[in-house]
């Protein structure tokens, strides 16, 4: 008997509500997650964009006033905005590939058949588990011009000590080194997980065929690692665009504003200056930047499928 001809008259009427189509069921099951996401993501982002069109400074004592795109116009004339934006992009360009290369090396090292695995794994985890601000503080002391270990080593090797945080370039270098140290272990963990999914038999086959170690790396390891690398890169790039803690603790943006990032400038405008309108407009720019980068990566992944 076809389903459509089924006699439903003997069932109570309310059971009709239980007989959901697949689509309705899907909507019902997704609703809690969608509701939660809209509360914690959609609403704040929408509110942020809304606030960016207002002049809203708590220190002015004036009520919020709709000013259209004026905050964004101010931004174009604001040299500090451009400087912090450029610094952010530069940190991303330097530290993302840096962390990838170091992380890859660490992952390959950790993947070697050690007799006891846990000390290697643990030492990989520690930088990742350390809070960012602690890492910033620790490295600020490492690079201290008088009491720091880096200058101590330099002097012992016969070089002259560097006043790291006195020059924009050295300060920038110190920050990038710290970020690479801090984030490469996350990269390594992601890549290590990928490495362990590669079947050993592929390497054995390559050995039989006479392929050397380097050839094996480029022909087997790298292509099979691509998905793990892309995912790791997405996460790393987005966190690089939001860099805040490490420069905040190490240089607080100095000397001058030469190592300040966009996230620090947003924090300064909203938390220190209480200028929520301008701060929101800056945050909208950062949001757009993160979205754009994610879109590019997602495109790369999709192209591979």
């Amino acid at each position: 008997m076809p389903i459509s001809e089924r006699d439903e008259t003997h069932l109570p009427k309310w059971t009709k509500w239980l007989d959901l189509s697949d689509r309705a069921l899907a909507v019902l099951l997704l609703a809690p997650a969608a509701l939660l996401l809209s509360l914690i993501i959609v609403y704040p982002v929408a509110r942020l964009i809304y606030t960016s069109f207002f002049s809203l400074s708590l220190t002015s004592g004036l009520p919020a006033e709709f000013i259209g795109l004026e905050n964004f116009a101010l931004m174009i004339d604001d040299p500090v905005f451009w400087e912090t934006l450029w610094n952010t992009v530069l940190i991303t360009i330097i530290t993302v590939p840096g962390a990838l290369i170091v992380g890859m090396a660490l992952a390959l090292l950790a993947n070697l058949p050690f007799a006891t695995q846990w000390p290697v794994r643990l030492s990989l985890l520690i930088p990742w588990a350390l809070p960012l601000s602690f890492a910033g503080l620790i490295f600020a002391w490492f690079f201290h011009s008088q009491y720091g270990v880096v200058n101590d080593v330099l002097v012992r090797l016969g070089f002259e000590g560097i006043i790291w945080f006195n020059s924009p370039n050295w300060a920038f270098a110190a920050i990038c080194l710290t970020i690479i140290w801090k984030t490469s272990s996350f990269m390594a963990l992601m890549i290590l997980a990928g490495l362990q999914t590669i079947p050993r038999s592929l390497y054995e086959a390559a050995d039989v065929d006479g392929a050397g170690r380097i050839r094996q790396f480029f022909e087997i390891t790298l292509p099979l690692l691509k998905p793990s690398i892309v995912v790791a890169l997405i996460f790393r790039t987005i966190t690089a665009l939001q860099t805040f803690d490490i420069p905040f603790m190490m240089t607080a943006g100095g000397p001058g504003t030469s190592t300040a990032t966009l996230a620090m400038y947003i924090h300064q405008n909203t938390v220190s200056f209480l200028d929520l309108g301008y701060g929101s407009a800056l945050a909208v720019v950062m949001f757009a930047l993160s979205m754009a980068v994610t879109a590019v990566y997602l495109r790369i992944i999709r192209a591979k499928d």
């Binding site: 220190t59 004592g61 006195n166 001058g256 504003t257 220190s272 209480l274």
Partner: protein
Amino acid sequence: MNSKSLKGLALCASILGFSIPAHAADTELKIFVSSQHHPEVWRKTFDQYEARTPGVKITIEPGGNTSEAQAQYLNTVMSAKDTTLDVLMLDVIRPAQYAAAGWTSEFQAKDIEKFLPTYTEANTVDKKVVAVPAFADAMFLYYRKDLLDKYGVQPPKTWDELAAAAKKITEGEGRPDLQGLSFQGKAIEGAVCTFLLPYWSQGKTLVENGKLNFDHAAAVKSLSLWKSFVDNGVAKKNISEVATDDTRKEFQAGNVVFAINWSYGWSSFQGKDSAVVGKVDVARLPAVAGGDQATCLGGWEFGVSAYSKHQEEAKKFVGYISSPEVSKYMAVNGALLPTYADLYTDADVVKAAPWFANALPVVETAKARPVTPRYNEVSETIRTTVNAVLAGVTSPEEGATQIEARLKRILR
């Protein structure tokens, strides 16, 4: 009215009678106290107030160790209109901003008249009294009496004299770790004063009636002066890394001839961890050639939160903790400078801190940093520029132009 209802009334009255004092005992005032200014000594004065005001209980909410940390915390709490804090102890640069944001409630004009006039001025915005002073402070020139005597040098009256004296002493001593002058070059609040000292000394003001009154030439001269100290070796090369407490530590370790710092340095320099006990004296900060000696006004103020549910009680409490009695107690036991002129010569105060007698003219002539609701932005602009100039990233000329351009935007 029969006897029964009378009895009932009496019963009600007695219940009410008991319950009113019991209810009043619940008035709990919470005061936000900066952690670096001896909360434990303040506590003793709060105990006094509790003892003489039955029904009021005071609890302390400790703030952070720096003015910046406290401001960050208070910005969040006050934006959230938190009702739990009643009284706030605020760095002198904050009351104007908090009043503009509507975070503090106004005092009456008579509450402020009895204090040192500099504080009356610093706590009055548009003729409204926004806070009352807790204790005074100013920047001083600390110097090594023993070294100045050894080389027959008088305490300098001008910055040029200071540079010459520093050169003479550091060269004579021949110790590579001895610095001529230590001041604040890191991008912190202290660097704002660093910029303003020689600027003010040229008779210029930064803000007049809420409007920018910037003198470009004076600003260039101020920034050039500090940069020249770095270039001539009067100050150390990494002065752009030096914060207020670094100056204190280095002077205390005996590695500095002249140091610019707040009054808190004195008790550390005479403390048991100090290498310079009995070798230190204090003077007014020097002037630029042909200018007046000028210094930066510090100190902390009491404000009453606009969101406090105990406005009357909180103001009464502030009345007590800002009284001459408490100011004297804090001077004697906490080494905090008094907010009343006559206390500087008070026998007990002078006995506890002999140098306070010389501090009065400094505090009396100290200048307040710009009183504006957007002070944080003004401060940020000045301190990052001073830092950039000292690090050699920006020239004094460019620095002055940058400060002017940014301040114009902030104080438009």
